[in-house]
């Protein structure tokens, strides 16, 4: 449900309107649902309205999460139990 996409706020137009950009495409949308949006911020766009701002720090944290070795503990334990030196 809810096809929504992160877009960059390029130009604030006043009256709660803004031009946003996504990969060489631009669109005018409403910022009426979000406060304190600045040019350069990223928002989630759904049916012509920004729903929320994207937090860049949390976005970075999420990417780092993906890259972490999830099971390092289990692997080490398994290696110790079986006497195997192989840690994948």
């Amino acid at each position: 449900m809810c096809l929504a996409i992160p877009v960059r706020v390029e130009t604030l137009l006043g009256d709660d309107q803004a031009i946003v950009e996504l990969g060489e495409t631009r669109k005018q949308i409403s910022l009426a649902l979000v406060d304190n949006v600045a040019e350069g911020d990223y928002v989630i766009l759904h049916v012509g309205y920004a729903l929320n701002k994207i937090d860049p720090d949390e976005a970075e944290r999420t990417l780092k999460w993906f890259q972490q070795m999830e099971n390092a503990d289990q692997e080490i334990n398994r290696a110790l139990e079986t006497g195997s030196h192989e840690i994948r």
Partner: protein
Amino acid sequence: MNKRNPFGAKLNFNTGVVEMIHGAGGKASSQLIDQLFVAAFDNDMLNEHSDQAKITLPEGQVVMATDSHVITPLFFSGGNIGSLAIHGTVNDVSMSGATPLYVSAGFILEEGYPLKDLKLIVESMAEAAREAGVAVVAGDTKVVEKGKADGVFINTTGVGVITNGVDLSVNKIQPGDKVLISGSMGDHGVCIMSKRANIGFESNLESDSASLNWLVSDMLSQVPGIKYMRDPTRGGVSAILNEIAYQCGVGIRLEEDQLPIKEAVRSGCELLGLDPLYVANEGKLIAFCPAEFADQLVDTMRQHPLGKDAAIIGEVIEDENGFVQLQTSFGGSRVVDWINGEQLPRIC
């Protein structure tokens, strides 16, 4: 001897509009044909002002194709209904391997349509025809009452000849053959959609509408063994690949990482919830060739301006169910389904 001028004042292309009398077959019709169509297309056969063109064709298999064009909007970035009409018919003929030579153009005009815009359309057609090396040698004009047409409807029929003995056929396609595309997909569809009211977004995208006959000619003269070609239009690449897979009783496996898609098309599709595989093209072709010639073919295509983004996008596989599959960049796979109509923008 002075020839009398029966028409009086010249047609006012600045402020004039199409009227019912322009389609009635009388003097007004003649004036429109003479001062607009014949003037723009300008060739010996048309200059004869007959109801038919006597043409002589070179030796070889004769190929014919027809198309009717009812698009909205009539003008878009990169072209209009006129240039689109010529490109479309030239391409249909060229896909057989034939050299396109002659085109006919039938117009259904809406009463009240500005002559200024009609002139732009017809002149675009003339330019497109010149570039493709074809002549518009026959035509017809009718006018319908206001509200009964979307400004302009055009039918074009093209005739060409296969002069080089090439024999392209869908029945030659076999598992193991490679599938190639001449360039980025979805440009035309996204370009048109960005102009539609109630959707409107801005993009620098231009329609890819173009005549492919010179590219085809290079491909056929330099690479042996090309089996079949088709130009994807409405319904996108998915529509023709599904048709071909079904016809031949084979499967087609595409590689998502190899599909050439412009950034502006990707983002336009993301905004609307569309898949570029289903979005219209107007200046691209799909080619099938044996695996051993695929690299040579893609290199040949890339030498031509209309093929600079050509890519090998997949291969034909055994599959009597005729599915078109996509290997995703994740390594998973999914079906590229044969949908019924047009993909509509979605919010969910």
